[in-house]
Symmetry: C2
Subunit: 377 residues, 2 copies
DNA sequence: GCGATAAGTAAGTGCGGTGAACTAACTAAT
DNA sequence: ATTAGTTAGTTCACCGCACTTACTTATCGC
């Protein structure tokens, strides 16, 4: 067997590893299998994981006791030997609270089950709340959602605008006037649950990675809304970046002779691609809307081409108003990327719009919890 | 303690974890400590790693027996209590063979010790060798270098041009006429040693990551030679990309009205930035060389800006002919990146040239072995 | 019915860590 | 010189986890 370069695995060891960690890891391994490929017998799980049937039985027993996994009876098809007992993830044994704070006028959230299905929604109006008042609004939204489920709650995931560090502190979010606001800590202290906070584009890419039809290569999700932001899953891990600001491409300059942007720069990507701006563009009298959208798509392609080549991405998913993104814009983006990169970079690439709609962020926030608590995604 | 989003850690569990793995992991943890911060006592190692003194003593004893680590006596400074016995990595207990196949006319290699010091060099001329003959040339180079050390050899690391997959198979390297050439397997079979092969820009970024003065944030190394390529260390891991082609940015179009490129496209980055091309540019009669270099730098900045914003990089290192890269070109690149990205992306960023010179690739190839065999970098 | 085959369980083993208690070697104060 | 206190490193008993071995259970094909 030839040694091979580590993939996804960090180059350096991270910390000490207890037996307890190994057990949790193996639990995750089994859960992941059930999560992705559905019910299986203990023997199936043993074969898939490489663990022995004994160990698998032990772990499964533990998870059945917790209610996370349930026995489902034998499969219809009948073969030689003792018929297996299928076990499967009990999707509604626990619920997750997912919050989406990315919209300007409201904060929305949902109760989500372990299969990523949205079971209930709730929202609060922001009404200009800022700073501490905005934090309290989030607390109330989360508490309201908690009251809407009678199942044990695995945790709370939050997709927040702005730059968020790995401890769940919002470093900077102008719209809500947050800076160095320890949102995860505040929620955890108030609600006594595990809390995970990430940038909304980052939760979106997690949602797409887990519940979209994406493969295992590099994935980029570009969110087009009031602003423009992106999230990346590379080598099986969410990319944070040096200061947690990975994906902040809304203010990359695409046209030095373009419009003045609120950020004081000129011709930022947002000045052509933000949703309100796109709507104005296509509604302008005497404008060939498809051509205008294609023009925006071309500019987007120019920004994405270097990224595609650098990262050798597998998929780019556009998330936002489909009526604007899907069509000439997407086509022009795709075409421009291919025109501007080598076949080796672009042949393995698919560019498409998201099928998850507006739920990507809340569902992705739930994935944050799933990954953090169960090691599943 | 608040849960936090995993960094560098993959979202999903990868495979089963044996106790043996835990022990190797802990060994790496100690080696890493000694590697980075130099000699320490067993008690120091215990404090730094979180392992108990008992475990550390056990592991250190094992490594001392193997010769990897040696006792160095007590430190000069005298404090209360029993004086500690310092232990340190025995840099010359094992050697590593590093190969650099990226130059067009020759293949070069070196014997490197565990501290990354080049102890001996050797090279062979390619003389147009291709395909199988080129493979044999690599075998001979490696064998020659093996004969130059009397220490046990930890492994062989290779920086190859072209696209290399994680198993060390060269998917495509036009210059050497390799396609799907299992280089790592061939070397391993012939020399009975662990072999690691990666793209030369990828080994370069590893070299810079480990032996350059770079921090722990995202690092990009841009190699400017006959061609242009890049490598990335993100979140503590080497980035491979979907098909192993991450970093292949030499043929990103920077100027649709530019020169025709060998790749049949027009205005690729290589048509302005490749070293031979740069030399011609500055030597052209009647040309303002600094201005011309600045112009190239600006174009490079335009390609890098989206990448910087997307990845929130910490450092960009240019590796290649310093007389061309350092100065107007670098300055213009830096300036353009800052003009075209938000402060949040660019303030944490440093753009500089490499101090490791032409050895980056061989030393980086050695890092490939260090990381693979000892879990150290 | 009976052997073959597969699923799942019970008991015992070994490995790799831990904590507690120990020895060794030194400094500092009396 | 004696005593107390501190730090390094080791010995030993124990524990958690996954493994192997050996079994029971349950079905199929004959």
């Amino acid at each position: 067997m030839t040694p091979h370069t580590p993939v996804g695995r960090p180059l350096r060891p991270q910390g000490k590893l207890l037996q307890e960690d190994a057990r949790r890891h193996h639990r995750s391994l089994l859960l992941q299998q059930l999560f992705r490929d559905g019910p299986a017998s203990r023997a199936d799980l043993a074969r898939a994981s490489g663990l022995t049937r004994v160990t698998v039985s032990d772990l499964v027993g533990e998870m059945v006791a917790e209610g996370l996994v349930t026995e489902l009876g034998a499969p219809e098809v009948t073969r030689v030997g003792k018929p297996p007992m299928l076990v499967g993830l009990a999707a509604d044994s626990h619920h997750i609270i997912g919050l989406d704070l990315s919209e300007t006028d409201r904060m929305s959230g949902a109760v989500v089950n372990l299969a990523g299905t949205v079971l209930a929604r709730h929202e609060v109006h922001v009404d200009g709340a800022e700073g501490e008042r905005a934090v309290e609004l989030v607390l109330r939204l989360a508490a309201d959602l908690l009251a809407m489920t009678d199942r044990p709650v695995l945790g709370i995931g939050v997709g927040s605008p702005g730059v968020v560090d790995t401890s769940g502190t919002v470093i900077d979010a102008p719209n809500l006037a947050w800076s160095d606001t320890p949102l995860a800590a505040r929620l955890a202290a108030a609600l006594h649950l595990p809390v995970f906070v990430a940038n909304d584009a980052n939760t979106a890419v997690l949602g797409e990675h887990t519940f979209g039809e994406s493969g295992d290569g590099g994935l980029m999700v570009l969110r087009v809304g009031t602003g423009v932001g992106a999230g990346f899953v590379l080598g099986g891990s969410l990319l944070h970046g040096h200061l947690g600001a990975a994906g902040e491409i809304g203010h990359v300059v695409v046209d030095p002779e373009g419009e003045r942007c609120a950020c004081s720069r000129t011709g930022c990507l947002e000045t052509v691609l933000a949703a309100p701006r796109l709507r104005r563009t296509v509604a302008a009298p005497g404008v060939d809307a498809p051509a205008a959208l294609a023009d925006v798509g071309r500019r987007l392609g120019e920004v994405l081409a270097p990224i595609v080549a650098a990262l050798n991405l597998h998929e780019i998913v556009l998330s936002g108003p489909a009526e604007l993104l899907d069509g000439p814009l997407l086509d022009a983006t795709d075409r421009t990327i291919r025109e501007r990169t080598m076949p080796i970079s672009s042949t393995g690439l698919a560019v498409r719009t998201s099928k998850l709609g507006e739920d990507v962020v809340v569902v992705g926030a739930a994935v944050l919890v799933l990954a953090g608590e169960l090691g599943v995604s």
